[in-house]
């Protein structure tokens, strides 16, 4: 068991920067999720912990040891690959046993360990099969079992659920959470799916273009996005964002007028508001007044959108709420529910509570 530290890590290919001066401290036994859109450098960051890629600059520490020059096998980690990386020519049993075998663990211990790991992920019936004869979910479990068959310093998981269908994904998510609870091993988990991040993580690092844009607990990230990128990335539907200016404490944009607890005026800001904080109101005095652009029934809620220029503003209404498309409508929210960002830098502008 160990903590992990990224210290000013940069990874370049030629002039292309994949990971940009990244620093991150991961506590022992922590479950940390690297979250970000595809191509933002999550996998690369994780691979540098595994030793599959070498940082161009900076150091990686596992525990107190600088591991830059260690081979992957000497870092004592286990990894679950996005496409599982199962050995097609070996049975499930031999797949799970592989790490024990190549690490020279006495063969008398193998059987018990393999069976224990298989049991934990409910694979016992399939031990004799070849990976080819397994379903996606079962292959996923083999990959997990192969990771947990020994007690490594840490687990690395690269989008382990992205190849599963929606239903299985939810089951496996719960299993992974349970496994972490049981084994209590430091885990780095990479995903582009914010729901996975929110449900699994102790802390989430939201990444964009090779940098961490915000690091915090899931609640923190959701309630206090530090910048436009995080605000727009987290939440489903994502936070509504409208470009405009503040004039005399009032946010103004075409068809929008929102009173804010803000002194004075400011040009070039972005107003943010989550769909669930918006409610429909009397068309005479809402903050957002436009015809209804679309209505989506989700079952547990109804999403109503208005269109401002190229942007949609979406409000989340009760599941029983109904309105015609094209009808006049108005949204409003508590002033304290609004977020304000600087358009140029993307940084959050603090509003007095």
């Amino acid at each position: 068991m160990a903590s992990i530290r990224f210290s000013n890590i940069t990874k370049r290919w030629g002039s292309f920067v994949g990971v940009d001066n990244l620093s991150l401290d991961i506590a022992d036994r922590e479950f940390i999720v690297l979250l970000g859109p595809s191509g933002c450098g999550k996998t690369t960051s994780m691979r540098m912990v595994a030793g599959l890629d070498d940082p161009t600059f900076g150091d990686v520490y596992i525990g107190d040891q600088r591991v830059n020059d260690l081979e992957p096998k000497d870092r004592d980690i286990a990894m679950v690959f996005q496409s599982y990386g199962l050995y097609a020519h070996l049975s499930v049993y031999e797949n799970i046993r592989f790490p024990l075998k190549v690490r020279g663990i006495p063969s008398t211990e193998h059987d018990a360990k393999v069976r224990a790991a298989a049991e934990m992920v409910e694979l016992t019936e399939f031990l004799e099969r070849k990976p080819k004869a397994l379903s996606g979910g079962q292959r996923q479990r083999v990959a997990l079992a192969r990771a947990i068959v020994r007690q490594p310093n840490c687990f690395l998981m690269d989008e382990p659920l992205s190849n599963l269908d929606a239903k299985l994904r939810i089951t496996m998510r719960a299993e992974i959470k349970h496994l972490h609870h049981r084994l209590n091993v430091t885990t780095i988990y990479v995903t582009h799916d914010q729901v996975e991040a929110m449900t699994l993580a102790d802390r989430v690092a939201v990444m964009e273009k090779g940098r961490i844009r915000q690091l915090g607990t899931p609640t923190d990230i959701y309630n206090n996005p530090a910048n436009l990128f995080v605000a727009g990335f987290i939440g489903s539907p994502p936070m509504n964002l409208i470009d405009g200016d503040i004039v005399e404490g009032q946010f103004r944009a075409e068809g929008v007028s929102v009173p804010l607890p803000f002194q004075g005026s400011r040009q070039g800001v972005v107003l943010g508001i989550r769909a669930e904080d918006l409610r429909l109101t009397d068309p005479a005095h809402g903050h957002f007044r436009q015809a209804v652009y679309s209505v989506e029934l989700l079952g547990d809620a109804t999403l109503v959108s208005q269109r401002f220029g190229s942007r949609l503003i979406t409000a989340r209404a009760d599941k029983g709420f109904r309105i015609e498309m094209g009808a006049t409508s108005a949204f409003e929210a508590m002033p304290s529910a609004y977020y304000l960002f600087d358009r140029a830098s993307g940084d959050r502008i603090a509003l007095p509570a």
């Binding site: 290919w13 030629g14 292309f16 070498d54």
Partner: protein, 351 residues
């Protein structure tokens, strides 16, 4: 993968290539710049003949202490190259008076005069080899691609049980040992062989295929097509198996005719393979060898590879052979460097 690991893995292969390709090339460079001969001296020898003793002088190799003949090496600079390029012959070709036809004496037009220069140059062995290589490439490349592609489409379209035998028959000329392939063609075209005789009985007259430059050149090209079309076929056929079926179906749904779906869906998909076959074929055009040897085509239809071989075995001059070899290398580099630079650019962008 780290550099150290890479080096460890490629070492045996790279060492083999350095020792047996790179070093010999360096040796060839050296050889091409020098000349060597066995040192001889004139000695007086006494011979007793029935009419009495006579004393004659005759040449004899000089031996060193170990009893081996002494070889003399002499720096030649570019002389070997000039002699392979046959600069004198070129000069003669350009300097010759071509205002009148040498046979009929009639005045010649400019195109005729240029034709005369060209004809004389093509008779010089290096330029002849180069020009035949170019002609060969220009004729065979498009035909190889067209026939290869048509056969691939055809085999792709036939019913399953026929595919195996068709592929089998098509592969034979490709896997065949080139000497054997060339011989098997030659044995059809000997003066009393089956095709020659049949053509004669069909009223084409007796054609002595192996006796003149034009027909041997034709046979070399015929052999080239026979040997390489199957290669193009098998590569393109394999490529056809990877054409995404939904793209073809989408084209059909969109109302494309059979020809249009070939032209706008299949051919773009196979484009890299067309380039691949072209590249391989052009590289191989420099080294056409066995058919030239087998058809004794050397004079009329030659290749740079054959020229080197001839200088080595016919003239026994391995300095000139080296110069010819190096000129071939230069030709290949001229061909490949643009390609390599382009690949390098895409490689760097991709990284």
């Amino acid at each position: 993968m780290r550099l150290k690991t890479l080096i460890g893995f490629v070492l045996p292969s790279v060492v083999a290539m350095i020792l047996l390709i790179a070093l010999p090339l360096v040796g060839v460079i050296g050889l091409s710049l020098w000349n060597s001969y066995t040192k001889t001296e004139m000695v007086r020898v006494e011979q007793s003949t029935p009419t009495g003793k006579i004393i004659r002088t005759q040449p004899r190799p000089v031996l060193d202490e170990t009893g081996k003949p002494v070889k003399v090496w002499e720096f030649y600079g570019l002389k070997n190259f000039l002699s392979v390029l046959d600069v004198d012959g070129m000069e003669r070709a350009f300097a010759a008076d071509r205002s009148t036809n040498p046979v009929t004496g009639a005045p010649q037009s400019w195109p005729e005069r240029m034709g005369g220069v060209w004809g004389d140059i093509a008779n010089l062995s290096f330029w002849g080899a180069l020009s035949f290589t170019l002609i060969y490439t220009a004729i065979t490349t498009p035909l190889v691609l067209i026939f290869g592609f048509l056969i691939a489409l055809g085999v792709h379209a036939v019913v399953k049980p026929l595919k195996g035998p068709l592929i089998f028959a098509s592969l034979l000329p490709f896997v065949i040992t080139p000497v054997v392939g060339a011989l098997s063609i030659k044995w059809l075209f000997l003066d009393n062989a089956v095709i020659t005789v049949m053509l004669q009985s069909l009223g084409f007259g007796k054609i002595y295929f192996l006796q003149n430059a034009f027909t041997t050149g034709f046979l070399v090209i015929l052999y080239g097509l026979w040997h390489v079309v199957p290669f193009a076929f098998i590569v393109l056929y394999a490529g056809l198996q990877t054409v995404p079926q939904d793209a073809v179906e989408a084209a059909v749904v969109d109302g494309a005719s059979r020809w249009q779906s070939v032209r706008y869906v299949i051919m773009p998909h196979l484009a890299p393979l067309f380039s691949f076959v072209t590249l391989i074929h052009i590289m191989d055009a420099y080294r056409v060898f066995e058919p030239i040897l087998v058809f004794s085509a050397g004079q009329g239809a030659s290749s740079l590879q054959y020229l080197t071989y001839y200088l080595l075995n016919g003239e026994q001059n391995f300095h000139k052979a080296s110069a010819a070899a190096l000129l071939t290398v230069v030709g290949i580099l001229l061909l490949l460097i643009p390609l390599i630079l382009r690949t390098w650019r895409t490689h760097r962008e991709g990284a």
